[in-house]
């Protein structure tokens, strides 16, 4: 990787960028064409796809949108855990704040999309700062506990009877009227392209970030935070940046979720949803970014088919699969597939080392 620098910098930057990302770009093209391809295979006409007529194509668009949303959610979690080595157990809150806020503002206050986006941005920043406030005091597992605490409070409040007029309590937020041009039923193809676009842009931005000087420092923090401090990096600032980016991404994923599925269930604020993010990056490979997207696809399809074949028992089976993954496939698809899988193992070790509670040492 590092040795190719001099060569690539000689090329035109855009060309070099295209060359480096040709795999991803190919996937992007396939995904752009996919609604039509499915339609053709299925014997539907292209125009019916454009008119959002129901059929397999439309159905798979819905499924893919869900994959994109999960992918964004997992991506934001991977940035925290896989790249920076921060174990937060409150990530579901990052997502649910976006989801609920969008729904409440549109439904109860009749806000338009633009002010809603602005509000979600502010909320995402606020919650990231909330996490940042506790960050310097509590490390490793205690940080995980505190974040779990925050998320639990949020989950409790959202489900409480007092908040029912806004959140719908246990039943969830229902009847959110999405602006017509984003209607998930009538304008699914548009929503599909928007979600695809957002996902791809975020993914490229994330890659950019990890490759940037700031991102490299985050990796250094994962590898050896003390040393990074000693070099003169105020690691706290970097962790705050990562929290902000992660929170923003997750909140917007939550917003997309509300747009796509105008029912917001309190489940998305629960620990279970957080486990899904973990599961996805475990499937894909911790710390790989692309693993988050691949993992999201695998997870959603797995979920879909298990649900279709086993019905009631699906969640149970997913739990079993999760446990088996933890036990036997710790590095996920991308991690196992990558040539430098030994390098990958060591990255995981670095994260583990960060979280290992420090036993007292007299020296």
């Amino acid at each position: 990787m590092e040795t190719t620098i001099s060569k690539t910098t000689a090329e035109r930057p855009t060309l070099a960028w295209l060359r480096q990302n040709r795999g991803t770009l190919a996937v992007l093209v396939v995904l752009l064409l996919l609604p039509f391809i499915i339609a053709i295979i299925d014997g539907q006409s292209i125009s019916s796809v454009l008119a959002n007529e129901s059929g397999n194509s439309k159905f798979f668009q819905g499924l893919l949108i869900e994959i994109f949303i999960l992918g964004l959610f997992a991506l934001s979690y991977d940035l925290l855990l896989g790249i920076t080595g921060l174990l937060s157990l409150g990530h579901a809150m990052f997502f649910a704040v976006g989801g609920y806020l969008t729904g409440i503002l549109i439904k109860s206050f009749g806000w338009g999309l633009v002010p809603t986006i602005a509000a979600v941005t502010v909320a995402a920043i606020v919650q990231a700062l909330l996490f940042a406030v506790v960050l310097p005091r509590v490390k490793g597992l205690t940080f995980a506990l505190v974040t779990l605490g925050f998320a639990s409070v949020f989950h409790i409040v959202v489900q409480s009877r007092e908040a029912a007029p806004f959140t719908g309590a246990d039943v969830g937020l229902q009847g959110v009227v999405i602006p017509a041009f984003l209607d998930p039923v009538d304008q699914r193809l548009r929503v599909y392209f928007i979600a695809l676009l957002i996902t791809m842009v975020v993914y490229f931005l994330y890659q950019r970030f990890v490759d940037s000087p700031t991102g490299r420092v985050c990796i250094a923090i994962r590898e050896n935070e003390d040393r990074a401090l000693m070099l003169g990096y105020n690691t706290f600032q970097y962790k705050v940046i990562v929290l902000l980016i992660s929170s923003l991404t997750a909140a917007f994923a939550g917003m997309l979720h509300t747009i796509h599925q105008p029912i917001v269930s309190p489940n998305i604020a629960g620990l279970g949803y957080m486990v899904i993010a973990l599961l996805i990056i475990l499937i894909g490979g911790v710390g790989t970014l692309s693993g988050a997207l691949i993992g999201a696809a695998v997870f959603r399809l797995l979920d879909f088919f298990i649900d279709r074949w086993f019905g009631e028992a699906a969640t149970f089976l997913l739990g079993v699969i999760y446990v088996l993954l933890v036990l036997f496939v710790p590095f996920g698809i991308v991690g196992t597939w990558r040539q430098h899988s030994s390098q990958f193992t060591h990255q995981i070790e670095a994260i583990i080392e960060r979280l290992r509670p420090k036993k007292e040492n007299p020296e």
Partner: protein, 517 residues
């Protein structure tokens, strides 16, 4: 003096908490705060039963067992079943014992498997084939076994009606289950299936290069245990119906205690199994242990939902704490014993015997027992030493991994006990595990993650805080410059404890009793 200085933040925090508490009770009549305090203590006791296991497990093994709450819940459901539907348990005992008796044999089989010389390919493949065949046969045979739980749709409906029937005394034991297929075939299937499973397990463990050979005494013990379980399985099968009759004929009080004991033991066994099969392979990857326990909690939750259904239901109180008729509420201990009252009068208020007295007593007993275990026994010594440096304990020649399993079993056993205990007071619901886990985690964080006494103190603190806030939700707090009294609404209760945790952790990152690093 030096100690005072060193711990000034800690003392200050404690002082503020005490002042707050005094302020809190100054606004209410004596009987109210006594009852509220008792309720707080009871909730603290339940939380403690979960937090105790969590803290010892975390201290010794660095495993934060996030499935602990769900195990508490599973304990409650198991206890309920033994208490209200002993027939289910007795029916299930035979296949369970049969499977266990064969799995116990794994170390012996491993020894035998190692002595075999097989062609390479066969050697690689056969355990997998055995595993698949074993599981397949076992599942097939088990579904043929007449268990009322197999009829999930019906069974999952039954708890509510059963609970009501039980309360009103109209409970009728379901008709004894009958084999549809040939019993010999079904039982044979279970035996062969679990035998294959055991063989496969032996095949896998034989692959480990450094394997400890069991000593002759150990081998003899294994054989005896296995034989005993096997025989017991058939004894239970033979006396199935009379045993069920007997259990249902017992008074609710002895049955409740049996339920407590059995659920704890089963919980401990389950904990041991989890540690050996799932946690142990992950000691090199601690973060994966957390992930694993998260997933495990998920599985247990789904299991409970499938078997016992989603709706909440009550666990009837044992008769000794349920008297309401003549002489009740009791005004003296004598009356209490005589009429087995559900409530007793204290300072003019009514205190519920089960909810506010019995639970606290059990909590105190467990606290005492665990403290004794830690302070007075060799196992406790190993645990205390291991919390500091388990590597060195092992270097002294102590099999720490074995202690890990025991501690995990102990922790899960305590959680299960807590679950049964909580049943009659809090009721049984799918959410009880997550709620208690949150409380226990807060208690742990507040008390200092690895400190046992910290877990106890944290649990009591959280319990009291919750109950006092609930109380104030009812009567309202007079806030200066506000006309209306401020009434905290119910969601503030769990939220308030979380806030307490965050505040304490921000002041004292090591918790109240944790050691500074």
């Amino acid at each position: 003096m030096e100690w005072l200085l060193e711990n000034r933040t800690r003392l200050l925090t404690l002082g503020i908490l005490i002042v707050l508490f005094l302020l809190a009770i100054s606004g209410m009549p004596a009987e109210e705060w006594v009852i509220t305090a008792l309720r707080g203590l009871a909730l603290g006791a339940l939380t403690f039963l979960v937090a105790a296991g969590l803290s010892i497990i975390f201290g010794l093994m660095d495993v934060l067992n996030l499935a602990h709450g769900e195990l508490f819940m599973l304990g409650a459901y198991m206890g309920w079943t033994i208490y209200v539907r002993p027939d289910t348990v007795i029916d299930g005992a035979t296949p369970f014992l049969l499977i266990a008796s064969l799995l116990v044999l794994v170390p012996l089989l491993t020894r035998w498997v190692r002595s075999l010389t097989l062609p390479d390919l066969v050697d690689k493949i056969w355990p997998w084939v055995g595993l698949a065949a074993g599981i397949g046969l076992l599942v097939f045979a088990l579904f043929q076994y007449p268990l009322s739980t197999w009829d999930l749709e019906n069974y999952a409906q039954s708890p509510i009606s059963n609970a009501i029937a039980f309360e009103t005394g109209t409970f009728q034991s379901p008709p004894p289950a009958e084999f549809e297929a040939s019993p010999v075939l079904v039982i044979g299937g279970v035996i062969v299936g679990s035998g294959l499973l055991a063989l496969a397990a032996a095949g896998f463990s034989a692959r480990q290069t450094t394997l400890r050979q069991p000593s002759p005494t150990q081998m003899r013990n294994i054989a005896i245990v296995s034989g005993g379980l096997f025989a017991l399985a058939f004894v239970v099968l033979a006396i199935n119906n009379p045993l069920t009759e007997f259990m249902l004929g017992l008074g609710s009080t002895p049955r409740f205690f049996i339920a407590m004991a059995l659920a704890s033991v089963t919980g401990a066994l389950l904990g041991w199994t989890i540690e050996v099969t799932m946690i142990r392979p992950l000691y090199d990857r601690p973060i994966y242990q957390i992930m694993l326990t998260l997933g495990l909690g998920f599985i247990i939750l789904e299991l409970v939902r499938a078997v016992w259904g989603r709706p909440e239901f009550q666990m009837p109180r044992p008769a000794v704490f349920a008297g309401t008729g003549e002489g009740c509420p009791a005004t003296s201990i004598g009356d209490l014993v005589q009429y087995q009252c559900a409530t007793i009068e204290v300072l003019g208020g009514r205190v519920r015997m089960y909810n506010e007295v019995f639970i606290i007593i059990v909590g105190l007993l467990v606290l005492g027992a665990v403290a004794l275990l830690l302070q007075r026994t060799r196992l406790g010594m190993i645990i205390r030493a291991g919390v500091q440096d388990s590597e060195m304990v092992e270097a002294l020649g102590i099999n720490v991994r074995q202690v890990f399993s025991q501690v995990f079993a102990l922790g899960v056993g305590l959680a299960a006990l807590g679950g049964v205990l909580a049943g009659p007071s809090l009721g049984l619901s799918n959410g009880m595990g997550a709620r208690v886990l949150l409380l226990a985690l807060i208690a742990l964080a507040v008390g200092g993650l690895t400190s046992f006494s910290g877990a106890a103190a944290g649990a009591v603190l959280i319990g009291l805080l919750q109950q006092f806030i609930i109380k104030y939700g009812q009567i309202g707090i007079n806030v200066p410059f506000m006309a209306e009294p401020f009434k905290p609404s119910p969601p503030l209760v769990p939220a308030s404890s979380v806030l307490l945790m965050v505040v304490i952790l921000l002041i004292l990152p090591q918790g109240l009793f944790g050691r500074k690093e």
